[in-house]
């Protein structure tokens, strides 16, 4: 089934894009991450121009996180105050990211930066996740419960001025910490076309020290609004959002997300985390190889 993408300026097999969306949708349903980290590189690999891929992936993450946010809202798993602060930071971040995007594009280094960011972030987080889930799996086998990690925020967070009480998160910290976290993920979202869930969740747990039952819901809440801002930002600056591409991805991802949620309930959490860690590491490895090996194309063309 050939579909012509009016912004990317080429025809693609629509079923492949829907399948791609479904794959990332399943992941997002299973793990509560947006799945953008997989969509963008796969689309580029398929031959879609990198800018169009990054710009259109954000709207797919929006779609996939809508139902997640709704589900978490129903069971009170969203800290709106904390989420609001992070969304504010995220929107500032997307604006900074848009500026960086244009600057890097002019310098001709955007693809390299995106690649390096992928390798460093995914590699680092994948490694930590794999280590933790392996420990958990081993402990489970041995029958010894893993000692619960003591919940507390990073010392740097407590040194920040101005303190607010975040009731649902069970925190009394400076709002600057979540704001900065929001800014950081906003920049990543704009540059990499990802939701940033896999950065946010560990950061909220281990840096902010938020209570675990509101982490996923609040991160989805932030992702929902920040990816919306990213789509707007791309539509107004790079003009690379392809509605047809986004719609195809959405069809796959929103249905995939529902399947993913069902699957997640059948598989033990530790094993789930290990699988996610393996996927993240694989993507990082692929990207690292791409940087180190002689690429197929030495030359790239950009309109000036």
């Amino acid at each position: 089934m050939d579909v012509y993408l009016p912004i990317a300026n080429l025809a693609v097999n629509g079923l492949v894009i829907v399948a791609l969306g479904a794959l990332t949708g399943i992941l997002s349903g299973m793990f509560g991450v947006g799945g953008g980290f997989l969509t963008t590189p796969l689309m580029i690999f398929y031959g879609i121009p990198p800018t169009v891929a990054a710009a259109s992936a954000a709207s797919q993450v929006t779609g996939a996180s809508v139902s997640g946010v709704l589900a978490h809202t129903r069971r009170g798993g969203v800290d709106y105050q904390m989420g609001g602060v992070m969304v504010g930071g995220g929107i500032i971040g997307t604006a900074i990211g848009a500026g960086l995007f244009r600057l890097l594009q002019q310098l001709g280094q955007i693809d390299v930066v995106i690649n390096v960011l992928y390798v460093v972030l995914l590699g680092g987080i994948g490694y930590v996740m794999a280590k933790e889930s392996l420990q958990a799996l081993r402990a489970q086998k041995a029958g010894v419960p893993v000692p619960a990690r003591k919940r507390r925020h990073h010392p740097m967070v407590s040194s920040l001025p101005l303190r607010w009480r975040f009731y649902r998160s069970g925190l009394y910290i400076s709002p600057l910490a979540p704001l900065l976290l929001g800014v950081f993920t906003g920049i990543l979202t704009m540059l990499m076309g990802i939701g940033g869930g896999f950065v946010l969740v560990p950061a909220m747990l281990y840096i902010l020290g938020m209570s675990a039952n509101v982490v996923v819901g609040t991160s989805l809440f932030q992702i929902l609004f920040v990816t919306m801002a990213t789509t707007m930002m791309h539509a107004m600056t790079t003009r690379a959002v392809d509605l047809v591409l986004a719609a195809l991805l959405l069809i796959g991802s929103v249905s995939g997300a529902q399947v993913g949620v069902q699957l997640a309930q059948r598989i033990p959490a530790e094993r789930l985390r290990f699988v996610l860690a393996a996927i993240v590491l694989l993507v990082a490895l692929r990207m690292a190889l791409g940087l180190g090996w002689r690429p197929d194309e030495i030359y790239t063309v950009t309109p000036s």
Binding site: D2, V3, Y4, P6, I7, N9, L10, A11, S59, Q60, T62, G63, A64, S65, V66, S67, L70, A71, G108, Q109, D111, V112, V116, M228, T231, M232, M233, H234, A235, M236, T237, R239, V241, L243, V244, A246, A247, L250, I251, V254, S255, A257, Q258, L291, G292, W293, R294, P295, E297, I298, Y299, T300, V301, T302, P303, S304
Partner: protein
């Protein structure tokens, strides 16, 4: 008076000797819309003497189809500190977005390099208008890099036996446009060559344009970014919401 007469005689005589090219293209408008997978253009026509008889001589025909040009930056990756990153770059002011040459025999057998360069007959003779003073060696490397890249994307091509001549009167060439062609005005120039000399040429045009929904989306994205973005956001929220509801029923 005598001079004028001589001039008229000259025109008539050369007119009588030089054949006329009558080019035609299978379609003068390529519509890019849903389901567009690229298309194949048939460029055909006839060569004849002004009296309408067949030209009779041995001719070679070269057809050049050229898309709209654009100003581009071409970047070259080099291995630095173990990573392949963009290192060198150059700017071309008039790189065609599409360029195809078809001829009845390989270009080198038809004309010499000088003539080929003058009429842009072939990929090595593309006039790219590089910006800045570069040494020719580096310039040649970049040009070759661009041509190679575009060739593999199917946007630049050379077909040394692409033109079929029948009875030295009719010619035809097929040139495929891939789905990734840019919109704009394409010019098809046909050259008739005898003994290394271009004796006549004719130009016809093809318009490649987006239509209907595709045109609306492209225009909207370009000129109305805010509303377009809003539409994309609403679409994604609606679809996410809908899927949540639908699956809740199952």
């Amino acid at each position: 008076m005598r001079a004028l007469l001589a001039l008229i005689c000259l025109i008539l005589l050369t007119g009588a000797r030089d054949p006329i090219l009558v080019p035609e293209i299978s379609q003068h408008e390529v519509q890019v819309r849903q389901g567009f997978r690229g298309t194949e253009l048939l460029l055909f026509g006839a060569i004849m003497t002004p009296e309408g008889t067949r030209a009779g001589q041995d001719y070679d025909i070269v057809v050049v189809l050229k898309g709209p040009t654009q100003s581009i930056v071409l970047r070259e990756k080099q291995r630095i500190a173990g990573m392949w990153i963009n290192a060198a770059s150059t700017e071309f002011r008039s790189a065609p977005t599409f360029f195809a040459v078809a001829s009845s025999r390989p270009i080198q057998q038809i004309v010499d390099d000088k003539t080929a360069a003058i009429y842009e007959l072939g990929l090595p003779w593309l006039q790219l208008s590089p910006i800045g003073a570069f040494d020719p060696k580096e310039q040649a490397r970049f040009s070759a890099g661009l041509v190679d890249l575009m060739q593999r994307e199917g946007l630049y091509k050379e077909d040394p036996r692409g033109v079929k001549l029948s009875e030295q009167v009719l010619y035809q060439a097929r040139i495929a446009l891939p789905s990734s062609v840019q919109t704009g005005t394409y010019t098809a120039e046909t050259f008739a060559v005898t003994r290394g000399r271009v004796i006549t040429s004719a130009i016809s045009k093809v318009e490649v344009k987006k239509l209907g929904f595709e045109k609306a989306v492209a225009d909207y994205a370009e000129y109305n970014g805010f509303l377009y973005g809003l539409l994309a956001v609403l679409l994604s929220i609606a679809m996410g919401f809908l899927a949540g509801r639908l699956f809740a029923l199952i």
